[in-house]
Structures are given as structure tokens and as C-alpha cells.
């Protein structure tokens, strides 16, 4: 009898230990206990959960949740999340980032989800805050799954990689533009607030685009910026064709980057700042150190 009672107490203590109440970026506190079914919205949330080894809990994502390659069902576009579609996946908790939930078309979705009794945990924005932001989100996810030590050691591994990045940065910072190309004739340049700028700075470059947000690529503006290097997404490179096709894009051939064929590609997921930011930065830093010394 006594043993049974002890076992029960121990069980209660155990489950109490794994229950966590986490305050979301929107100020709403969410109670989670070992979630088994999670709808993870935004590429970086999915990727962070994978890093914590809890990918088996993800039952749904949005169209951005494609890395690491998976067969998780998508609830659709990140800018228009369907409340009922998400509820139908019977999630214990819905986890997404503040930037995506702030989309006007999604504000109501969060309201509807909560009205239907679904827990929604809002992580800090994934397009701002750089590596510290990634760590903050990682830490919150560590609490959700009660794997704080894994989260901490991952954070430390970021720092290790960042030290390697510092050691590999080029001595003179190249002027860089981040070109989000949709096809051979059009693209957007990424300004000073967001993941692209973060990546350029971490890798030891200087963003040649000095505006905020994004601007349409125009030949003259690009020539005026005269970047030494151009970063593109792999998807963008594919959309344009190949390096030779990139050199034919408006203004590219007339820049230092174009003349010296200095075009670098990074994985598509860099747009939302995620756990691979240090790796991307290291890759670029090494390439730039070799090319610019």
C-alpha cells in the first residue's frame, strides 16, 4: 500500500516536472506537458524542433516547413493559416512565430484557435533579432519539450561555430547585396533589417543596400551600389538558370561582383532566421576569405 502511494507520488512529481508554463511573445502564457501533437508554423520552428530531436511530434506545418526534407502535412500558405484545418490535426499545441501571426490574415486565426480551446504558443519574430532571437526561440522550445539541456548545448554549438566564423572572416569587408530573384528579369534586394543583413554582417561583409525592407532590383540602383559580391537563394539561382544567366540580369554585369563572377548561394530557409545561420555564415566567410582575402 505504502509502495503504491510512493509510486503514485513519484508519478505525480514526474509529470509535474515535465509540465511547463511558457510565456509567449504576445504575453499569453501557455501550459504544455510533453506535447505529442504539435503544429509547427514557419520553417525555423520546424527546423528547431528537428534539432531538439522532437520531429516525431510535428503533425502539421505550413508551406515553408520543408527543411529537413519531410512529409509533414501542410496547412497552406504562411500568410493565410486556416483555423479549422489546424484544429483538424488535433494539436496539443500550435507553435509559430510572432512575425507570421502578425499578418493581418492570421490575427483572426489565432483568435479562432484560442476560442476553440487550442493552445497557441507565439515565439519571438523569426525575421528579426539575429542569432539571439534563434537562441530565445530554441530556449522556449526546450521548455515546451522539457529538454532544456539539449537546447543549451545547441546554443553553445552556435557560439562555437560563430568563433570559427570570426576566425574565417575576410580582412576587408566586401560590399554585398542579397538578391531574392524570382526569374531572369526580376528580383528584390534585401535591406538592412532582416535575416539577409544579419547573414552578411555575420559572415564579415557589408550590406551595400542601405534601405529598410526590400526594393525591386533596378539596373541603375545595382550599378550605383556596385557590390563586390551577390548572395542568392538556391531557389533564386534555379529560377534564373545558372551563373551565366545571373550575369545577364539587369545591371549585374556592370558591378564588381558581376565582372569577377562573385555570386554565392545559400539555402532557401535563410529568409527566416534559423539554427543554420552560423553554418551559412561560416560557408560564406570561408568563400569570401578565399575570394577577397
Amino acid at each position: 500500500m505504502k509502495g503504491k502511494l510512493l509510486a503514485l507520488t513519484a508519478l505525480a512529481l514526474l509529470s509535474a516536472a515535465s509540465a511547463a508554463s511558457i510565456k509567449g511573445a504576445d504575453g499569453v502564457t501557455v501550459e504544455v506537458t510533453n506535447p505529442k501533437r504539435v503544429v509547427a508554423l514557419n520553417a525555423t520552428t520546424v527546423e528547431l524542433i528537428y534539432r531538439l530531436g522532437k520531429q516525431a511530434t510535428i503533425v502539421g506545418t505550413d508551406i515553408t516547413g520543408t527543411y529537413p526534407p519531410n512529409k509533414i502535412p501542410s496547412v497552406g500558405h504562411w500568410a493565410q493559416l486556416p483555423a479549422e484545418g489546424i484544429i483538424a490535426l488535433k494539436p496539443d499545441v500550435v507553435i509559430g512565430t510572432a512575425d507570421n501571426f502578425a499578418m493581418p490574415s492570421n490575427v483572426k486565426t489565432v483568435e479562432q484557435l484560442r476560442a476553440a480551446g487550442v493552445k497557441v504558443l507565439v515565439l519571438p519574430a523569426s525575421d528579426r533579432g539575429g542569432l539571439d532571437g534563434v537562441k530565445a526561440r530554441l530556449n522556449m522550445l526546450g521548455q515546451v519539450y522539457n529538454v532544456q539541456s539539449a537546447a543549451t548545448s545547441l546554443s553553445k554549438s552556435f557560439d562555437t561555430t560563430m568563433q570559427a566564423v570570426k576566425a574565417n572572416q575576410p580582412k576587408t569587408a566586401p560590399k554585398v547585396v542579397f538578391l531574392y530573384a524570382h526569374g531572369p528579369a526580376s528580383g528584390m534586394l534585401y535591406g538592412t533589417d532582416g535575416g539577409a543583413n544579419e547573414l552578411i554582417t555575420l559572415a564579415g561583409g557589408k550590406n551595400a543596400a542601405t534601405f529598410k525592407d526590400t526594393k525591386e532590383l533596378t539596373a541603375e540602383a545595382l550599378v550605383a551600389m556596385n557590390p563586390d559580391a551577390i548572395i542568392m537563394l538556391t531557389r533564386g539561382m534555379e529560377a534564373v538558370g545558372n551563373l551565366d544567366a545571373v550575369l545577364k540580369m539587369p545591371g549585374v554585369a556592370q558591378t564588381n561582383a558581376g565582372r569577377n563572377r562573385r555570386v554565392y548561394t545559400v539555402d532557401d530557409s535563410v529568409r527566416w532566421i534559423g539554427p543554420r545561420l552560423p553554418e551559412f555564415a561560416l560557408k560564406l566567410a570561408r568563400e569570401w576569405k578565399a575570394d577577397f582575402r
Binding site: G60, P73, S74, V75, G76, H77, A79, Q80, P82, A83, E84, G85, I86, I87, A88, L89, K90, D99, M103, P104, S105, V107, K108, T109, E111, Q112, A115, A116, G117, V118, Y180, M188, D213, T214, E216
Partner: protein
Amino acid sequence: MTAAAAPVLSRQRTRAALVLLALPLLLVGAVVLAVGTGAVPITPGQVLSILLAPLGVSPLQGYDEQQAAVLWAIRLPRVALGILVGAGLAIAGAAMQGLFRNPLADPGLLGISSGASLAAAMSVVLGFHAFGMYSLPAAAFVGSLLSTALIYLLSQDRGRVNVTTMLLAGIAINALCGAGTGLMTFLATDEQLRTITFWNLGSLGGATWPTVLSALPLIMLGVLVLPLTARALNAFMLGESGAAHLGIPVQGVKWLIVTLVALSVGAGVAVAGTIGFVGLVVPHLLRLVTGPNHRTLLPASALLGATLLVLADLVSRTVAVPAEVPIGIVTALLGAPFFLYLLRQGRRETGL
């Protein structure tokens, strides 16, 4: 009236009576189907149990809390919004076609959609947040009223409203608003662009009871009052002077119709985005069946518009579960080919 026309007319009367009897049943059927179908499965028995629960009726069939929450908080307001917006768009379309004596007229001609789009895009890009999450719908509503008022003022000619000028002014203002929206999309960031695009494709996904209640009075005003203009619209078929000779206060009726259309469509566009096709096609479709009498056409349009939008929304939220397809795409994809088919059939039958 020629001898040959008489049987046609009586046949149309019988058909009209049948249609007015059948359409409410069709709407009820669509609502029952739409309420019981969706990403979260709820059986008809459970629907009934959940709906009767507040009255203290013991459940006929067991259900869980979440199903009840989905039904009350998400699905019912969504179906209700579909009924409202569909009815408003279709009856406004019927009234516009009558007013312009042109089956190709639709509320969009008055600049309602384009004005709303421009204002919505401006609110997104220039960051208008005065009404919190209702800023975009509020801007859209004001935009639709402003462009309608502008077109209406432009078509005033010495105190009279010239319908032809209104049509031309509508085309010009639509082009101007289109350019303005283009400028806004050009200035928009990637995220803002998504918002504008999705708004322009329309969706009932944001339906909550407050949204339904905000649109209800304005749309119901149109749905209930526009049928009262049926006699005047019938007389308009004789031309404006003909209508005036029949004792119709032509200017007043024009003013009333334009105002009601602007209010009800503007409210619909504000809460659901631009949903094309319903306002144009529903009355046209009914005219092929019941003939051009506005006494039948106006209420029948409201009923059929509501039915079709409820069904279109059902398709939009179930065809790609757990994702959703914007409803504007569904109305156009399903409606346009069907419309073309009907057009070919109807032509053969009525010699249109």
C-alpha cells in the same frame, strides 16, 4: 402583347413561382451540408446536439468540447458570413443590371471593389492601424464608399444622374484605382504583398461573430430594401423617360439603388475581401430561368447568391484539407465554366 408572347410569359410565371419555392429549400440544404462538413468532422447528430445544448436538451449523440467550440466559434459564423455576403453581392448585381439595363453590369462597375482594394492596399502598405485588426476592413469599406460617391458625383448632369456617364466614369475610376493599387503593391514589402494578394482573392476564413454582426445591418439593409425597387426597375426596362411616364421617381430610385448597393457590397467586401463573379452571374443565371421580372429576380438572386457562396466556401475549405483555397478562386473556377454552358443553352432556348 402578341399571341406568341403570352404562353412564354405564363410559363415564366410558373417557373418563377417554382424557383421562389425551391431556392429557400436549396439554401437550407446548402447550410446543413456546410455546417456539418469541414476539416474537423462533426456528424449531423452531433451538430444537432451541439446546437440544442444551450437549450438544455440532452445530447442525442456524444461530442467533445472541441467539436462544439469549432462549430460555435468557427464554422457557424463562417456559414453565416457566406449567406450574408453571397446574398448581398447577388442582389446588388441584379439591381445594378436592372439599373443599367445591361446584363454585364455588376457592383464592380460602381468602383466598389476597386476602391475597396485601393484603400485596403493603402492601409496595409502605409501602416494604418487606427482600428486594430479591423483597420483593413474599415479602410476597405470607406474606400468602396468614396469611389462610389465619386463616380456618382461625376455622373451628375444638372441634377440628373446619367447612367451612361456613370458607366464610363466607373470604368475610368476603376482604372485609376487599379493604378493606385498597382503603385501600392510596388511599394509593398514581401509580407505586405502577401496580405494584399490574399485579400484580393477573398476569404471567409476570418469570420467571427463580431465580423458577422458588423456586416449584418448594412447587408440586410440592401437585401430587404432593394426588392422594394422591383417595380421601378421593371419600369426602367422601358428607358428612363418611359419609367418617368409611369410615375416612377427616377432620380430618387437611382440614388436609392446606388446607395444600397454601395453599402451592402462595401460591407461584404470589407469583411470577406473581393469575391468576384457572384454579383455578375447569379442574376444572369436566374434571368435565364425566370425571365427578367425584378419582383422575382431580386429576392431569388439573394437566395441563390447565399446558397452558391456557402457552397463555394465549403469547397474552398475542404478541397485541400488541412489547407484552404481562397474563395475567389473557387467562385471563378467553378462558376465561369458553368456560366458559359448556361449561356450557350439559354441562348438556344430564349434566343438571347
